[in-house]
């Protein structure tokens, strides 16, 4: 499904290569396009979401070389040669990532729109700091918004994943 044929023909197009969820991807597109758009429109990875377009809500969060990144505010050119991880790449087949399991165990979602961003943000935290304090969790996660305000259970999920 999906049709995309921006093609060579748009003046600012460039060929860019980066890996997404361990797979090498080649994209020919305008270098200034947000990574979020390329992931969603070209690569059909819609887990990363648009919430604000200015890095204030975290719905677009992906990991770039392990770093938590707002893909709405990152041009696709900035990830050339880098490793991008999205929510779709977390599970190994049927085996969910421990953070995903923790979110399920704590029912840490209501509408679920912020969930991919929240999960990846938590993954980034725990990969860098496996046993964060409550204060550290709160501060780290503060860049992500949940409008359903499921904050309390999300904190429980991150604590649970931290073990």
């Amino acid at each position: 499904m999906g049709w995309l044929s921006v093609g060579p023909g748009q003046p600012m197009d460039a060929k860019l290569t980066f890996t997404v969820n361990g797979q090498k991807r080649d994209v020919t597109t305008d270098r200034d396009r947000p990574l979020l758009d390329v992931l969603r429109e070209d690569l059909h990875l819609c887990g990363a979401k648009f919430g604000c377009g200015e890095g204030r809500c975290g719905a677009c969060t992906v990991l770039v070389d392990g770093q938590r990144t707002f893909s709405c505010s990152t041009s696709v050119a900035e990830v050339e040669g880098k490793a991008v991880r999205t929510i779709e790449g977390l599970a190994q087949g049927d085996r969910l990532h421990p953070v995903q399991e923790a979110f399920l165990a704590e029912n840490a979602f209501q509408c679920g729109y912020c969930t991919p961003g929240m999960v990846l943000t938590a993954v980034a935290l725990l990969e860098n700091n496996p046993h964060p304090s409550d204060k550290q969790i709160r501060q780290w996660m503060d860049g992500n918004l949940c409008r359903c305000c499921t904050y309390a259970r999300i904190l429980s999920a991150v604590r649970r994943a931290a073990g």
Binding site: M1, G2, W3, L4, S5, V6, G9, Q10, T29, D30, D32, R33, P34, D37, R40, E41, C46, G47, A48, K49, F50, G51, C52, G53, E54, R56, C57, A59, T86, I87, E88, L90, A91, L96, Q100, F103, L104, N107, F109, Q110, C111, G112, Y113, C114, T115, P116, R138, Q139, M141, D142, N144, L145, R147, C148, C149, T150, Y151, A152, R153, L155
Partner: protein, 708 residues
Amino acid sequence: MQISHADHRAQLSRRGFVQLLGAGLLIGVSDTAVEAQSRRGGRGGRGGFMGRGAATVAARVHIAKDGAITVMAGKVEAGQGARAELTQVAAEELRIAVDRIALILADTGLVPDDGMTAGSGTTPRTVPSVRAGAAAARDLLVALAAQQWDVKSDSVQVRDGRITHPQSHRELTYADLARQSDLKPFAQPVPAGVTVTPVNEWKVMGTPVDRPNRRDLVTGAHQFPSDIARPAMSYGKVLRAPSYGAKLTAIDLSPAQAMKEVAVARDGDFVGVAAPTRFLAEQALAAVAKTASWQTVPHPSSGQLFEYLKQHARNGLPANPFADELAKAAKSLKQSYHIAYIQHTPLEPRAAVAEWNGDKLTVWTGTQNPFGVQNELAGALQVATDHVRVIVPDFGGGFGGKHTGDAAVEAARLAKAAGRPVSLRWTREEEFTWAYFRPAGVIDLEAGLDATGSITTWHHVNINSGPSSMNTPYRIAKARSQFVQSEAPLRQGSYRALAATGNTFARECFMDELAAAAGCDPLEFRLAHLEDARLRAVLEAVAKRFDWSGRVKQKEPGIGVGLACGTEKGSYVATCAKVAVDQQQGKISVRQICQVFECGAVVNPGNLTSQNQGAILMGMGGALREQMRFEGGAVTNASFRTYLVPRFRDVPELDIHLLDRPDLPSAGAGETPIIGIAPAVANAVFFATGVRIREMPIRLPVTNARGE
């Protein structure tokens, strides 16, 4: 179970259901038995699955020949828990595991018109209808078994989707029932005499059933409306005016028309583009926006808002009908409360994907009003209603802010112009500027006290914000509440609990002021005026859990406690708050919230707790920081940078207690849990500082005079 979205027929015929879900048994529900908000007579008759006609019957339950069970409902899932609840109640009545039921929601081509998802209506109205449909299926299974085995109905048991006759060890399943039905049309609505499971026999209802498709949320597999992708799809954007009321006087579309693969549409003031990528659509739109000339009109600013609302009150401000008595009261008090405009800001902006197939239109969109939007699309695009199908995937938040079909209509118009499907999603700035707002208001309260400290007269006037929870629940012999319309400077609409937020704030803050005037503790003062047993129950319970009487004696510098209570939409809430106040910095931190909530028999305690947590935290935004600022006809804080919603840093200690009343009918709970937080916080701020703040958001004047 996969439902193909390739079928563009607006309304499936019975044969369509058979094709889609397989032959089997269909149990219908008539328009009159549901909350149908779209009555279409004559030409536009929708007709349900049995075809057009006065008594339309829509399908509620389908049982396939292999025993697969599908339940259909017109409500939506936007995080508030309808999917879990409706699956759960169907499972209860069918006596089958929750994961055996596939629930189709909010597809106008497939489901009954259960009305808008709003007003806390799913639990009191749609749940009974779904239960009746499911119970009818169970009754049919019982009748089939009784007939086949030649036994009495009361000698058979239904459990785990099987019906057994223990004495003879015989067994039948729903699959057997469906195979029997063949293609006999089930033309009547659910029989009136269907019995649903009494609360003391609930096995599934009353338990915390999880949202069925939750795994798709944590894996990113779920497709929200803004994720829907159709073959050959383009991305649309619409030109916005620079300010409210501005008229387009000139524009040059040629910069966009010259761009390869960009479609441009214009119809009067409607100008839009569709392009193969959103980035290109933005560039195309920016190119034409530069050429546009507008005729702007003056517009009031938020700085003048409350004066403006008062000055434009229709037919002026009503006088206090009890003025004479008030003059003779031992004490009297009059205060005015200001309630700002705020917005829902669901994390998923409004979005739609529109696809034409000849003169038939299918739109995927996030709306709380699928059948209303179906009508809206038909009107806007000049097609028959039954040529329009609206599909509402589980979407990213509504909170009362997605009742209309703005994005749907825009996407449909652009799709028509482009000749291909169009995905259109508003930006956050568009959300903040062009979506509607919870109405602002001025609320005037005036009351008198007699020598014993009892309230003698009560006058409540709400200007513009609305009448919800306007009437006082307290026992006051002479009480009058009035709602007065005004000229609204911003587009207004529903919000979670509507004006019950502002009216409860004003009333509960005023009650504290009256208590102080009467020399009485806020809790004792309320209880002395409260006869409503259910409201007393939550108030007493929260005061006990919070140790109100102990805490009011504690005088910790900068720390305050406050309480509030209220009732709306048939449920009851009482809230205690502990705050820490830094007067010098003008900072209010909420440290602890204790809330007790009662809504009759609790259907899903897990979701109910979730709704309470969410409503409290969401309410903290309206209580402390959220307000729309506008000037020159434009919102000036149209960003999460300047419109401050609650975040992780704001989360207090939360103690939520659900008061289960299995003896009472189940009421809805999506809204009322929000109404206690703001007044409890304001009252706590007074406790800590001696300062009464009579506005939402509650803001302390900064003592070092740095100004705003």
